[in-house]
Subunit: 265 residues, 2 copies
């Protein structure tokens, strides 16, 4: 199976332009970038893909050993870039993909020009001894993972609208719910464990390229202190607090997200 | 069993002052008003209570027939007011208690001077045919109730921090999680069904007293359009959009909440 098939890679935009690679978050897929990509297609070669187990990737390629840490996902990103012979890409990662992008850039800096991190968090758990606020108490995360395991569809329907926020526009939460529900429960659970129980704080200072931290207002997954922490620990980063609320500004507030990205690029 | 014991009524503040009655929301109890009451204790007689099945109420008094609609809870409120011989009270209701207060005021207007509604919603389900946005799709609410039923503690730990918002201050979400978890699962499930599947839109125009609608920003339970709807349908109401985020401004932003209430009172 080719890597491009495995990750359902699709290419568009300016053929010989620099690459802009979009990496979706937990329970999502490449279609969720649809409001952003047109703004960059004139100048950039747009690279979209789905992580294995998500969207239209090859489910058979799922390997619970490989994907038992974010490194496995970072390997996927690097393999896609190698396959396409891409260097100096702008990598746009949503949520957990911000850290996946950071790990990939640390491994092969030449492949990245910069990282755009949409709602990043290097650690979701609070760490009192270090004075670190991630937003989640250990009991809450255990409950979240238990609840996910006992009733994945119910969990998805409960959580997705909360994560999306913007209940004024229910179609947004509905899209995220449907996307969560389409994801294989076992794969989703492992990805959630890897995501929510991980700790990438020590990786941030090693990121070898400049970054943009896009932080939303009232994001139930990544609170503002977390975005500020990421900004502070990255060697070279811009920080933008969006007026967009929720955890998915690329869907709920694309114009503001595009404007911040254009200023950075 | 006396009504004051049943609902764990506690009195404080100015003994001969007008009454200010505080009614908690789903999975909460009277202790959650502790940041607001001191600001009103000089002028008002402060009345706190717990709904049956919540806080330190008499669990044995729970009656699944009586509490199968919000009317049962409104009866509790009226019985407490009768027992204390209270008329012309300022009734402060959080979330579902806003509608409970509305129902009680419609039944016995003389007992109420005004209603303060903190994060009210007359209907959580969207109603496309009426062009009404409540924030929740039917599938999402079914999923939420299913998930609650299959793993109440996991559901509580997942949901409470999202409902509270303000992940920057994890102690807030933790308090709500603990309060949800202390509630009897069967009682909580019935209260959630009654709350989330109810429709009190037609009651709003009947509210016979003036009201204050306190709407939060980025509230995953009651979006802004819902607060605006409540304001529009009430015969006489003030509307304040708080800069406070989440669904519990009385805990997360007491100063702003108090200021809005003082202007109204």
């Amino acid at each position: 199976m080719s890597i491009l098939t495995r990750n359902n890679v699709s290419l568009s935009g300016r053929e010989n332009g620099p690459a802009m690679v979009f990496a979706h978050g937990f329970g999502c897929d490449q279609t969720m970038w649809r409001y952003l990509t047109p703004a960059f297609a004139d100048r950039y070669r747009i690279v979209l893909f789905d992580y294995v187990g998500h969207g239209k990737s090859e489910l058979a390629a799922y390997d619970s050993g490989r994907y038992d840490s974010l490194d496995g996902y970072a390997r996927d990103v690097l393999e896609v870039l190698e396959e396409l012979d891409i260097s100096s890409a702008v990598f746009v990662g949503h949520s957990v993909s911000s850290m996946i992008g950071a790990l990939a850039a640390i491994q092969q800096p030449e492949r990245f020009e910069s990282l755009v991190m949409v709602g990043p968090s290097p650690r979701y758990l609070n760490d009192e001894s270090a004075g670190y606020v991630g937003g989640f108490e250990p009991d809450d995360l255990r409950g979240l993972l238990d609840s996910m395991e006992s009733n994945y569809l119910g969990w998805s329907s409960s959580m997705a609208p909360m994560i999306m926020g913007n209940g004024d526009r229910p179609e947004l939460g509905e899209e995220l719910t449907n996307s969560f529900c389409r994801t294989d429960p076992a794969i989703a659970l492992q990805f959630a464990q890897v995501t929510f129980l991980g700790d990438n704080r020590s990786d941030l200072p090693k990121v070898p390229v400049r970054s943009l931290v896009l932080q939303c207002t009232a994001d139930v997954i990544a609170p503002e202190v977390v975005g500020e922490y990421v900004h502070e620990k990255l060697p070279e980063s811009d920080y933008v607090l969006l007026s967009a609320t929720g955890h998915c500004p690329h869907l709920s507030a694309p114009a503001e997200t595009i404007a911040a990205m254009q200023r950075f690029c």
